[in-house]
């Protein structure tokens, strides 16, 4: 199959997996292997943020890749980690140059030992949320072909959307509850602003400031302070000014 055909097939596969019971690890492992097939890379791996917020190695095209990625996480250092943290692609054209070793003193020797000469990491990201990174290791130094760079980001994007939609599917009710809870919290806060403004004569912005400062001083949640104000559980005078 042509390279174009393989890429299209991968996109379709990923998109088709937008059903409630798809297995994230399985799909991403397929993606990792597909990257090695169609892109000019020796190895590919994916890191994803776990529900608890820490980064995990989820899929790799080889055991060597998996170990290197695990090492990056343990050492908390490396181009893939940087990519995830910044939400931006990281390209290292030659791992044997001093600049690379300076930047990642523990990762670089291990990677070079394993035969890696250049790295390209692209973020798995939708708007302001980065959920992971697609990491590509090459055994040649130098830049990845432009076509490959574009294709890699596109693959990462499709995978990101597939994962978020999967999460949405199985969590629809939970997400809806979070949405309405967030909205209701805002509503109570706006109501509390009105109460503070009417009692003290300050404007809405200052009213908001008073609520926020009180919450911080009491180490309470803003929405809880707002709720107390609105139900007269605390008087406006009791708010720090």
């Amino acid at each position: 199959m042509s390279r174009e055909g393989s890429l299209v097939r991968t996109f379709v596969e990923l998109a088709d997996n937008l059903v409630a019971d798809f297995d994230v690890v399985e799909v991403l492992t397929v993606l990792a292997h597909r990257c090695v097939e169609v892109l000019d890379v020796a190895d590919a791996g994916l890191m994803l943020q776990s529900p608890r917020g820490d980064l995990r190695v989820v899929a790799s095209s080889s055991e060597t890749m998996r170990l290197l990625e695990l090492f990056e996480l343990q050492a908390d250092e490396g181009p893939c980690v940087d990519c995830y943290r910044s939400g931006r692609a990281v390209a290292v054209l030659n791992l044997e140059l001093e600049a690379a070793a300076d930047r990642w003193p523990r990762f670089v020797p291990k990677a070079v030992d394993a035969g890696v000469r250049s790295v390209h990491a692209v973020p798995m990201r939708l708007r302001d949320q980065t959920i992971g990174a697609l990491n590509l290791f090459r055994d040649d130094e130098g830049p990845m072909p432009d076509d490959d760079v574009v294709a890699a980001q596109a693959l990462a994007d499709v995978a990101t959307i597939a994962i978020l939609q999967h999460r949405a599917a199985i969590n629809a009710q939970l997400l809806y509850d979070q949405l309405t809870e967030a909205l209701n919290s805002r509503v109570v806060i706006e109501q509390a602003k009105g109460v503070v403004a009417a009692r003290t004569g300050v404007d809405m912005e200052e009213a908001f400031g008073r609520l926020r400062r009180h919450a911080r001083a009491q180490r309470a949640r803003l929405v809880d302070v707002a709720h107390a104000v609105v139900t007269n559980a605390i008087t406006v005078d009791a708010l720090e000014s």
């Binding site: 939708l126 708007r127 302001d128 949320q129 959307i161 978020l164 939609q165 999460r167 949405a168 599917a169 969590n171 629809a172 009710q173 997400l175 809806y176 979070q178 949405l179 309405t180 809870e181 967030a182 909205l183 209701n184 919290s185 805002r186 509503v187 706006e190 109501q191 509390a192 602003k193 009105g194 109460v195 503070v196 403004a197 009417a198 009692r199 809405m204 609105v230």
Partner: protein
Amino acid sequence: MSNERRARVLAELAKQGDLDGSRLCDVAGAVVGVTGAGIMIMSSDSPLGSLCSSNAMSGVIEDLQYALGEGPCVDAYGLDRPVLEPDLANPATPRWLAFSRGALEVGARAVFGFPLRFGAARLGALNLCSDRAGALSDDQYADALTVADVAAEAVLVLQAGAPPGQLATALETDANFQYVVHQAAGMVSVHLSVSIAEALVRLRAHAFATGRPLTDVAADVVALKLRLAHD
């Protein structure tokens, strides 16, 4: 719902870079081919506000439903099925008298509501309006069902990207959750020594009695131009 219709809607959504609340309405209107489109977020108690509106007409139609608690989206959400009014000026069955008056005033002649749901979650409703009387064609109807499905999914996907306890910023870009109404309710509750719920009722009653939009009344209260009095 055919995959081809769904693919077409997704392609429209994907067209211009970042997806957010406001694009959903623009795409909804464009795909179905109506004058205006909007998305209302609702809870079992009442409308919570508007996620987006593609034009002024749909914006007013959403504000009216928020203020009055009646209209095609309110019914579509409550009944969990599409609610269609192809001729607002001469309805087969008279309904939504206050809403219709306001909607006709801004040029709406046909209004349609489609429930927005995903899985077990019932989010609200898609609101479609036209400046000409007439029913939706079969194609438009099918497209509207598809758009409602995709929009519901998109809203949840966007919310999934938010930090816990917060509304996703992507959902706030063009939204109107009527914060000024709630600020005014807080003030009125102090002025009249009533609960917030009572204050909201008073605000709505004043808006209805004076024939003014609820948001305008609320804005005047907040700006200290208006102070509601005890009856």
